[in-house]
């Protein structure tokens, strides 16, 4: 059972992790937000560098919710429509902290590595 699942998600793991971190950070910055809002924010921050297939957000949101990092609730959007709002949980905030630290460490390593490559 476990084998089947890890087989299935082997290739996308890195991307998934990145997307998870981005979603968590977005919710941390903006507070409770619906899927559309999260997508807009990601597009905006990445200055359209990131090509995000916006639909893939939803399986990710479900996964984060299953892990207990975010919680969801139906509410009303700015234009008075029913929309599902996602918010960070306490466990999610901790997870964000952990993942952000990991990411920064990794980024620093990459930066050093790439800089070193340039000098003779």
């Amino acid at each position: 059972m476990l084998l089947l699942i890890s087989n299935m998600s082997d290739k996308t793991d890195v991307l998934q992790g990145t997307l998870d971190l981005m979603v968590l950070k977005t919710l941390d910055t903006m507070g409770a937000q619906h899927g559309y809002g999260i997508a807009q924010r990601l597009q905006q921050v990445s200055h359209d560098v990131l090509r995000l297939n916006q639909g893939t957000l939803y399986p990710a949101l479900l996964r984060l919710e299953q892990r207990g990092w975010i919680a969801s609730r139906w509410g009303t959007s700015d234009n008075n429509r029913r929309a599902r709002f996602y918010a960070l949980t306490r466990a999610g905030r901790k997870q964000l902290q952990r993942e952000a630290d990991d990411w920064r460490r990794m980024a620093a390593v990459m930066a050093r590595l790439l800089e070193g490559e340039g000098t003779p």
Partner: protein
């Protein structure tokens, strides 16, 4: 994946996750927002909609990915397979019902018998470290420990280093008199360390101590929880109270917990002890000698000591004792046997035989359902080929087919458990009297686990082959021929399975036949006396009032007088033991001039104390000399009758009449004159050879534990039961009457193991034959259906009904012949496991085997009935047009 995520996904797989409608709502909202955005940027509605759809991505893929995330893929497939499987099974209700019924019978029978096996043979005894508990005693003819003398165990206790405790037990029958009615209590007397050895402690009060276990001190009591509640209203102040039994005072010192299961409740004494008192023997007491074998010995081995080590040590000690006391011990040996084995040794074989029988029934059920599945997979080939053509992998198809098998076997298990629940109650009613721990037989978690296990194994056994074959069906070929035409492989597999069915049924039939013959042989065996019309009642004359033999004899005289005057009574007699009555008294038989140097080596002969009318009432023939007479009183010269076997064993070819003998000790008691020789009787079991017996007049060997016997003038003796008990009570209401039983019933009860096995084997054989017949019917009728065209052609070319009949029968007859032949071979190999259960007939009795073969053949032919009629009705025109 976190555990939390896995849990939520498992819930999702069960349909308890977020709903897809929610996702649809979210996606619609998202799309609308994107569309509105684009419109604000000035796009026309059509372009805006396209851009929104592009940005969001493929709807179907998102939903698919979301679904995968919601549940566990394995569960999802399983659910699909199960849903699909149930749909397929419902589409063929006839097949499903047949398979379920077959499996229900197979699994139900196995569950029921396993529940007995588990409770009686597998479950550890309810004592701490039960594997260290053993029985110890002088080795009996069956290899098990028999009774033992006090001195033997006392010396073992002093010299052996293998045991933590060695304990002793003897039967005891005190009478509690209360509310005007005497109640004979089931009780035992035990050495003071008995409860310590068993690992039990009183719930109230204290345990026995060594100080209680002395000749002048032993009148203290431990009560069972049941007795305490029943007779003393669970009064907690019972400890210290003095109660009177048999005119003597006893002090209650404690109450055992309800969880304590008395050893004798397991029929060690055919009784359920409610009361314990210390043994109270002294080393130099009258009943303490090595040869005074009336005690049961038990022991708890020291941790790490094996049975063999303990037995070797005790036998060494016994040899030492025999050298030290050459005239007190015989040259026997000591047997040490695990307690569990001693308790269940008698019933092991019947239970294993029945377990084997139900395993056969399950095998037949598997073969049958496998057969049905193969037949079904032929008709499903198009469907499977289509699925394969559409891209389903071989593994996927095997999995689907196995899921269907699993559904069938789990369904069979479910119904089987229901059948077993009902059957267990029936088994308890049918079970032999001596089946220990019967009250623990239940369908519980362990039994259910077993059921699930056999259901899984069964599912694989009958499902794997058809599934594999089904999956490997060649897609193109199958689609092309549209499932018609014969496929040799399938037919061969089915024929094989039917032969296996028939062979297994043949084995069970032969076994059941042998057991039926055994029951017949036991019923018609001559026990040496005529039990018909005789009723017996056990009672005991104990207490101060009967301390003198004279008082006992006076009671006996008055009772006999009353009984003989009772209407409907033809004759009456008293005895202290009767054949099949459960109590025996084997005594040393010492004939003057023939006493061995060590008198302990003289034969031990069953002693019956009887009143003069006994021999005639029991119809035991007088072979030589004279019968016991009323003139053989206590004051007259002591006399004795010997049985033919006793005469032969002790006196050989010499005339025993006039010989002088002592019983129970070569140097004690009066010399008795042998005055007659009578026929042999079986003491407890007609299936073992007769052993010697002797008869002494009750007047000259007075006993307090008695059996009153009356022979009815009419065929029905049971109407005398109440007057018989009343007659005893009329003389003295304090005398307890324990069991009133018709003698023929006692004789039948002795064969209850055989009867039990015979009945159940008969039932299992009937099921097996029925299943085999169904399997055969399935194959033959399928064959007829396949050959409709051929038959049509033959009829068109002038074949007569007789030819059609021959055509149909020839294939089926070959199967029956092969099944019967294989079955006879298998039966010859397996009926020997019935072993000692079979009596009066050889385990390979040709007549029984032939009879079973005939029955099976007839049933096999019967299974052809419908297919033959169908074949005879084939109309050539229709058959040919159908192609």
């Amino acid at each position: 994946m976190t555990i939390r995520e896995m849990w939520r996904r498992a819930l999702g797989a069960l349909g308890l996750g977020p709903s897809e409608r929610d996702l649809d709502g979210e996606l619609a909202f998202h799309r609308d927002m994107l569309e509105a955005d684009a419109r604000r940027r000035g796009l026309d509605p059509e372009s805006a909609r396209r851009e929104a759809r592009l940005a969001l991505g493929g709807g179907a893929q998102i939903v698919e990915a979301w679904r995968d995330q919601r549940s566990l893929p394995f569960f999802d497939t399983l659910r699909q397979d199960v849903t699909y499987g149930i749909r397929m099974l419902r589409r063929t209700p006839g097949f499903t019902a047949a398979a379920l019924l077959t499996l229900t019978l197979g699994i139900g029978a196995n569950t029921a018998i396993f529940s007995v096996l588990d409770a009686v043979l597998l479950r550890p005894l309810p004592y701490p470290e039960p594997h260290r508990l053993v029985t110890v005693g002088d080795r009996g003819p069956d290899g098990f420990p028999g009774n033992v003398g006090f001195a033997t165990i006392a010396d073992f206790r002093d010299r052996s280093r293998s045991f933590d405790q060695l304990a002793l037990m003897r039967g005891w029958g005190p009478t509690l008199f209360a509310n005007g009615e005497a109640e004979a209590l089931e009780a035992v007397r035990v050495s003071w360390n008995y409860f310590r050895m068993m690992g039990a402690r009183p719930a109230l009060g204290r345990d026995f101590t060594a100080d209680d276990d002395r000749p002048d001190h032993w009148r203290v009591l431990l009560l069972s929880d049941g007795l305490w509640r029943r007779r003393f209203g669970a009064d907690p102040s019972i400890v210290g109270r003095v109660i009177t039994m048999n005119d003597r005072e006893y002090r209650v010192i404690g109450v055992m917990p309800p969880s304590f299961e008395p050893l004798d409740a397991m029929h060690y004494f055919d009784a359920r002890a409610e009361l314990w008192a210390p043994l109270g023997y002294a080393r130099d007491g009258d009943s303490s000698c090595y040869g005074c074998r009336h005690l049961r010995g038990f022991g708890r081995l020291k941790a790490g000591v094996t049975i063999d080590q303990a037995a070797a040590e005790l036998n060494t000690i016994r040899e030492q004792l025999r050298r030290e006391h050459p005239t007190d011990l015989d040259t026997g040996s000591v047997a040490v046997v695990p307690l569990r084995q001693a308790l269940t040794g008698q019933v092991q074989r019947p239970i294993y035989v029945l377990m084997g029988a139900v395993a056969f029934v399950l095998l037949i059920a598997c073969a049958n359902v496998g057969n049905l599945l193969v037949a079904r997979s032929v008709t499903r080939r198009s469907e499977l080929a289509l699925r394969a053509a559409l891209g389903a992998g071989r593994r996927r198809i095997v999995r689907q087919l196995l899921t269907e098998s699993a559904l069938l076997s789990l369904g069979g298990a479910l119904f089987g458990v229901l059948v077993a629940l009902a059957a267990v109650r029936g088994l308890a009613a049918l079970a032999p009297v001596a089946l220990p721990r019967l009250e623990h037989v239940a369908v519980d978690a362990r039994v259910l686990l077993f059921t699930v296990a056999i259901a899984v194994v069964t599912g694989c056994a009958f499902g794997l082959l058809p599934a594999w074959r089904g999956a490997s069906a060649d897609a193109r070929q199958s689609l092309a021929v549209d499932g018609r035409g014969t496929v040799g492989g399938f037919s061969r597999a089915r024929a094989m399975l039917v032969v296996v069915d028939l062979a297994l049924a043949m084995v069970l039939l032969a076994g059941a036949g042998l057991m039926l013959r055994t029951v017949g042989a036991v019923a018609s065996a001559d026990p040496g006396f005529r039990a018909e019309r005789i009723l017996s009642a056990q009672f005991s004359l104990v207490g101060q009032a009967y301390a003198e033999d004279g008082a006992v004899r006076a009671f006996q005289d008055r009772l006999l007088e009353k009984l003989r005057a009772m209407p409907g009574v033809e004759s009456a007699a008293l005895a202290d033991q009767i054949p099949f009555g459960g109590n025996y008294d084997c005594r040393g038989f010492h004939a003057q001039g023939r006493i061995k140097p060590n008198p302990e080596e003289d034969p031990c002969i069953e002693r019956y104390g009887v009143t003069p009318g006994y021999r005639r009432l029991m119809n035991i023939p007088l072979l030589a000399g004279r019968d016991l007479l009323d003139s053989d009183t206590a004051a007259a010269q002591p006399v004795i009758l010997v049985s033919q076997a006793a005469a032969r064993e002790v006196f050989g070819a010499d005339n025993p009449i006039g010989a002088q003998v002592r019983i129970g000790g070569a140097d004690r008691g009066p010399w008795r004159t042998v005055v007659g020789v009578v026929g042999d009787v079986h003491h407890a079991d007609v299936t073992v050879p007769v052993t010697p017996a002797m008869y002494v007049p009750e007047e000259q060997f007075t006993d307090s534990f008695l059996v009153a016997l009356v022979k009815s003038g009419t065929t029905d003796a049971s109407s005398l039961a109440a007057p018989l008990a009343a007659a005893i009570r009329e003389i003295d209401p304090k005398v307890p009457v324990t069991s009133v039983a018709a003698l023929p019933d006692l004789v039948v009860d002795a064969a209850s193991s055989q009867l039990f096995v015979a009945r159940l084997l008969g039932a299992f054989a009937a099921i097996a034959v029925m299943l085999a017949a169904i399997g055969l019917y399935g194959v033959v009728s399928y064959g007829v259906a396949q050959r409709t065209r051929e038959v049509g052609v033959r009829v068109a070319l002038g074949a007569r009904p007789r030819d059609v009949l021959r055509l149909v029968l020839s294939s089926g007859a070959a199967l029956v012949a092969a099944g019967v032949a294989a079955g006879v071979a298998a039966a010859i190999a397996s009926t020997q496991f019935l072993g000692s259960l079979v009596f009066g007939v050889s385990p390979t009795d040709p007549a029984t085997f032939a009879g079973s073969a005939v029955v099976l053949t007839l049933v096999g032919l019967l299974a052809h009935w419908v297919p033959v009629r169908r074949a005879l009705r084939i109309d050539p025109a229709t058959a040919l047009r159908a192609e």
